[in-house]
Symmetry: C2
Subunit: 273 residues, 2 copies
Amino acid sequence: MTCHMMTRAERAQLAMMLEVCAFPKPGNVDRCHDYDTTRLEHFLASTIFARPALEEAERGEGRLGEIIRHAVSATNCHGGGNTHFGAFILLIPLVYGGTIAGALKAIGRTDVSDAVAFYRAFAMTSVRVHADDELDVNNPRSLQILRERDMTLLDVMQHSAGNDMIAREWVTGFPLTRRGADLLKSLGTGRGAIAQAFLTLLASEPDTFIIKEHGTEAARGVVTRARDVLDGKVAIETFDAECINSGINPGSIADILIAAIYIALGEGWEWDF
Amino acid sequence: MTCHMMTRAERAQLAMMLEVCAFPKPGNVDRCHDYDTTRLEHFLASTIFARPALEEAERGEGRLGEIIRHAVSATNCHGGGNTHFGAFILLIPLVYGGTIAGALKAIGRTDVSDAVAFYRAFAMTSVRVHADDELDVNNPRSLQILRERDMTLLDVMQHSAGNDMIAREWVTGFPLTRRGADLLKSLGTGRGAIAQAFLTLLASEPDTFIIKEHGTEAARGVVTRARDVLDGKVAIETFDAECINSGINPGSIADILIAAIYIALGEGWEWDF
């Protein structure tokens, strides 16, 4: 068996693929569950189409904001909508920089052109922030404000860190990504470890995507229920059904899990169980 | 939504992904079923790792035999064993040539170096032909015989066409690939059409992979059972369970289906239902 070294881009694609296949992941698309308009195949098509942008990141040329825009643009060509916006925000600096430390260095070098490119990427998705925020992507003046204030993409993330756990990863040095990777390594190999790491993150952090869509109360409820499952008080199938019935989809924790799988794979964690 | 044109390599990857996700596909790995040692994730990892070889084919440089060897080598790096050998034999000339006609032209230009490279690829898989055949990959003299007889890769396929339906596609102009693509287009969009096309091919052609593993009788039995399902006499779940219980895996028809999806996608068939 002649084996080639996996490239970072391939490792990122592998992380995206492994995350969406792992099951059960309460409330999310997984091997056992689709949403009506976003299905397993959409996530896997995005995994395939993301490669050129991930390779661009791996070459370490170009600018982070523009590469994120390329990734969103390339994966936006199917009916499943935005599948990996949050994952790209984490993966692209990680692939670019090679490690968390390298990612933070690259993040520190972003400028207003990255912020503008990122807003252009944002505008291609249906993800929304706060309508009453002057920096909301829906505000037609937002690009002008970014330029007037000469905001870097890191400044933008700083602005959003309070209510977005993906932005918070940029600002605080990828602590949940790191925790997820450590969890995977402690939990064993393959899909079982992925599903368990997902549940464990869910039980410890309110998902900010749920907060945006359903409010803080709902997000806290998910943390409590995930703990109940970990404590053996509730069956995971029950929790999954509850999430699905209330349209609750812990999307940001899934994005962080992808980044965690990427890091863990780079540190020798075995996906092939 | 800014959309890029899908490359041929991406289209081939999409075909590989869509085929393995579609369900139910009696006896095969699909969204609802793994084998103990070969799982959904292995097929999808191969889909990711195949890209450089598929891009090589798309550039139309290099030689078919060598590109097939690269594809097998790149996708052999996981514990799931050979997942797509037959699919690569079909996809690589199709990606290389752009169309079935183009593929046949490329196939006509193969020489003994392609045959030798193909045998090297073959030796990396656990697929076996006929132990009593002097051209069997296990015969240590087989490469020497290829060279002595100056056999092209098309000659090798001609040699195998009698008992291998993948080889037969090369020799006879991809008739089952063509039929599969037409079936998909007549059956509608997405995964439902894929599963139905699989069953329809299964009901019309004995799978030579089953013949090699279980004999002609077993392969004919699968054709009959698939017809029973199409006629509404047997539930597809029953047929699926029968295949799994007897370890029957219609692998060659799955490979042909991948090539059919590739062709259909190129002709405007919609995967996104």
